[in-house]
């Protein structure tokens, strides 16, 4: 701790002492004017490349220029919430729903188009990130204050970044090495003792602007454990995270650019029961033959998780002619991720080496016709060691009828699993002569998956603007990814249920998504618009879970079955999504947005007698209203967000639990957020509140009194776990000056 403190202090001093004399504008350096995404890939219109600098304080908006329907969260939008991490950045968005994986680990997950966030491809400046083992906590490890903007694209996107985008793509643009910000510091604290500290320092190391770097640091943690609902479990785990990043840009006079960087994360989380708890073991255990009296008692149930990650990347772009209409680019990334999770009765220890390499050739010699060709390699080498206590009664079950395997304790040891996706791709883009009226992008990929063979993935994006105020978009295509049944559904570790089925296998999931969008801009300003969109995602293969599976001889609510969709007779899994967005600026400085999303998610049920095919634990609708008022020159900013969150169907075994969910659905609940920011020169002070209605999911943990029993379940989370939160923070910005 002491070393870390000294390091941060030294870094701050160094940044502060950087000579500003002779500070030259980076205007002569083209790299200074483009985000990393554009710098390497060229100014594509279908990928997510745009960084929006805004002085109006407008936080979220739909991009007019993009070929694909894209919601942009700007730096101003990232300041609207406490935004400790990426997950919280989406609270203002109806497109993305944010929730918890379970009630003990604090892991956040998102949903896009009604599907789990694992089907949304996450990109860090067009490098795929948060994959496999890194997915469950990935959103917690991107500090909001490190970001310059976020772009959310719905539907399948460009083939250039791989084939894993099924429901959409979220691209993160970090603070840039070329920003003339030698020091940016943010610190905030909440009433629940959660404290955040962020630091960013962008430095230009020579007069010509060739060498540029940005140092990024983040520490967050909480100091107290709370149990507001009195169930004996901590509402949030005790947690401490260290996160460091360093990004570089070298811009050669020839136009060649090399970007590289390193990253390190370490996070500890200690959740579960409050200190001092003891339990009598389950009745079945106590009655089992040969159990000694002293073994019938257990200590408190805890979840202790240590996550570590290290990685680096290199991106290089080389122009092949003076006008840079033809170029080659190399994008490579290596990440090591290690998860050590101890859930008292379940242990999951895993590590993952991930390598991504993308080699592209781009040609824009003809103004209206662009094409890109490339090859890519995505390799994950995983080791998984999973063991858990099967409750005594489960040994009598007969799994054979379901074709399911019942894993005995200690058997789930898979080391050196290789998941390989080698691909070749091409993309053709046509733009009308005026570049705005019409565009078409046709992309194809052929990927070889070592566990499934060759797959062909076509994708199409169309945009048509018959008049300036009206834009129609459509896109569709195929997405593929390897499933990671345990980490994709991390909540299963915080249950007492017996797992059945191929939950250690990596199935190649396969989905097609098609959608359309119409946006009507009202008046001369792009700030007033009405947007409608519809998307449908249909899986042809998916690892499906069923919490209502009852094995022969078993009891409802004591097992979870994993099963490939293709093995369910006439199995199907699809979602339909409708969304309406309206945004306007009725008077200068006042921005109002109103968004509504309706989702119909259906999935074949495995359990006989299941009530219907509505996909459980998926919210039916969400409405968001946001009002923001900024005084002239943004010296005061007031922000208010209200959302109404629709019901989701619960698993059948939850019906009637403690008198709840009688109709099989969760209640509708509201959430309110407010924030006031006062800005001075170089200093922002802000106070705010989250979940101001203090709504909390009642009894989020099922059977908390018996965490060693088969009915214990902390994974059925649909609402807020924490009540009202009040926070205050400060942002200090020091610009480079002469």
């Amino acid at each position: 701790m002491r070393k870390t403190r000294w390091y941060i202090l030294a870094l701050a001093c160094w940044a502060w002492c950087q000579p500003g004399a002779g500070a030259q504008t980076p205007a002569g350096n083209p790299a200074a004017q483009m985000p990393d995404t554009v710098g390497i890939y060229g100014e594509r219109k279908d990928t997510l490349s745009e960084v929006v600098f805004t002085s109006s304080g407008n936080g979220n908006f739909l991009s007019k220029g993009k070929d694909i329907r894209t919601e942009v969260i700007t730096a101003a939008g990232l300041c609207k919430m406490a935004c400790c991490n990426l997950a919280e950045s989406f609270e203002n968005s109806a497109s993305v729903t944010v929730g918890y994986s379970d009630a003990v680990t604090g892991a956040r997950q998102i949903r896009l188009l009604g599907q789990n966030g694992i089907y949304t491809q996450m990109l860090d400046e067009n490098r795929p990130v948060m994959r496999g083992l890194a997915a469950p906590f990935g959103l917690n490890y991107v500090p909001g204050q490190w970001l310059e903007s976020i772009q959310i694209a719905k539907g399948v996107t460009s083939v250039i970044n791989g084939v894993e985008s099924m429901t959409g793509q979220i691209n993160l643009e970090h603070r840039k090495p070329t920003d003339e910000l030698p020091l940016y510091v943010q610190a905030s604290t909440m009433n629940d003792t959660k404290t955040d500290f962020n630091l960013a320092s962008s430095l230009q190391l020579d007069e010509e602007g060739r060498w540029n770097t940005v140092l990024l640091g983040h520490v967050d943690g909480n100091f107290r454990s709370m149990d507001h609902n009195g169930d004996g479990f901590m509402d949030d785990p005790r947690q401490l995270q260290f996160n460091l990043g360093n990004r570089w840009l070298y811009a050669a006079p020839s136009g060649a650019q090399v970007r590289f960087g390193v990253r390190a994360i370490r996070d500890t989380r200690n959740g579960g029961e409050m200190p001092g708890m003891t339990h009598k073991m389950s009745v079945a255990w106590q009655n089992a033959a040969g159990v000694r009296e002293e073994d019938k008692w257990a200590g408190r149930w805890t979840s202790d998780i240590l996550n570590q990650s290290y990685g680096g990347y290199v991106k290089a772009g080389f122009p092949l002619n003076e006008a840079n209409t033809s170029n080659v680019a190399l994008v490579s990334d290596y990440t090591y991720y290690k998860m050590d999770a101890d859930f008292t009765t379940r242990m999951y220890q895993a590590d993952q080496h991930s390598v991504f390499v993308n080699l592209l050739y781009q040609n824009q010699d003809l103004e209206q016709h662009h094409f890109t060709l490339g090859i890519s390699e995505m390799l994950d080498v995983m080791g998984e060691d999973f063991s858990y206590d099967v409750h005594a009664g489960a040994s009598d079950w007969d799994p054979s009828r379901w074709g399911a395997q019942l894993l005995p304790p200690g058997v789930g040891n898979h080391s050196g699993t290789r998941l390989n996706d080698a691909g070749v791709f091409g993309e053709y883009t046509f733009h009308s002569a005026d570049e705005t009226t019409f565009s078409a992008i046709v992309g194809v990929r052929a990927d070889w998956f070592n566990l499934a063979g060759w797959r062909f993935s076509p994708r199409l994006t169309l945009k048509w603007a018959p008049v300036e105020a009206l834009v129609f978009r459509a896109n569709g295509g195929r997405g593929l990814r390897y499933s990671h049944p345990i980490v994709d559904n991390l909540g299963v570790l915080s249950t007492g249920k017996t797992l059945c089925g191929p939950f250690m296998e990596h199935l190649l999931e396969d989905a097609w998504t098609f959608g359309a969008n119409a946006t009507w801009y009202l008046g001369s300003s792009q700030k007033t618009y009405l947007s409608l969109d519809y998307f449908r995602t249909r899986f042809t293969e998916q690892m499906v879970l069923d919490y209502d599976f009852v094995p022969d001889g078993g009891t409802a609510g004591q097992a979870i079955l994993f099963r490939p969709l293709s093995q369910i007779g006439s199995g199907y899994s699809h979602t339909d999504n409708f969304q309406v967005d309206f945004s306007t600026e009725p008077v200068a400085g006042l921005t109002l947005t109103l968004t509504g999303r309706w989702t119909d998610a259906r999935q074949s049920r495995i359990a006989p007698g299941a009530t219907d095919d509505v996909k459980p634990m998926t919210s039916r609708y969400k409405g968001v209203f946001n009002a923001q008022y900024a005084t002239h020159l943004n010296k005061w900013i007031f922000d208010f967000t209200a959302s109404v969150n629709g019901p989701c169907k619960v698993w059948d075994f939850m019906r009637g639990y403690q008198g709840m969910y009688q109709d099989g659905y969760t209640p509708v609940y509201p959430l309110l957020y407010a924030q006031v920011t006062k800005r001075f020169k170089g200093v922002d002070l802000y106070v705010g509140g989250e979940n101001l209605t203090d709504y909390r999911q009642p009894s989020p943990i099922l059977n908390p009194a018996d965490p060693y029993g088969p009915d214990f379940d902390a994974s059925c989370v649909w609402g807020p776990l924490m009540g009202i939160k009040i926070y205050a923070g400060i942002r200090v910005t020091i610009w480079r000056t002469n």
């Binding site: 200074a32 170089g682 509140g689 610009w735």
Partner: protein
């Protein structure tokens, strides 16, 4: 909750009182500058907005100019030019009203 309500009221009153002060004479100056990129634009807006006496500021990137509306009683064109130069950009008065 009560404390938050009181805080919001105080903020609202402060804003109201500030905005109800009598207005003094505004002047407008346009500087030719070396501001050429969006990053530069952001830097100028974020800094010049908080200079004493500045009532409005805008950056015209295509024409490389910075337009400032200011309170003549609180600042002048020389002070504002210095503030722009301190950020690393040239500032030469091309229009003053």
């Amino acid at each position: 909750m009560k404390k938050i309500a009181v805080f919001v009221c105080v903020l609202a009153l402060t804003v109201a009182v500030t905005s109800s002060k009598p207005k003094s004479v505004s002047r407008t100056v346009v500087y030719a500058s070396t501001v050429e990129c969006k990053n530069c634009q952001k830097k100028v807006l974020e800094n010049i907005s908080f200079e004493k006496g500045v009532r409005d500021v805008s950056v015209d990137l295509p024409n490389h100019s910075v337009k400032i509306v200011f309170d003549e009683a609180k600042t002048d064109t020389v002070t504002l030019a210095k503030a722009i130069r301190r950020l690393g950009y040239e500032a030469k008065v091309v229009q003053f009203e």
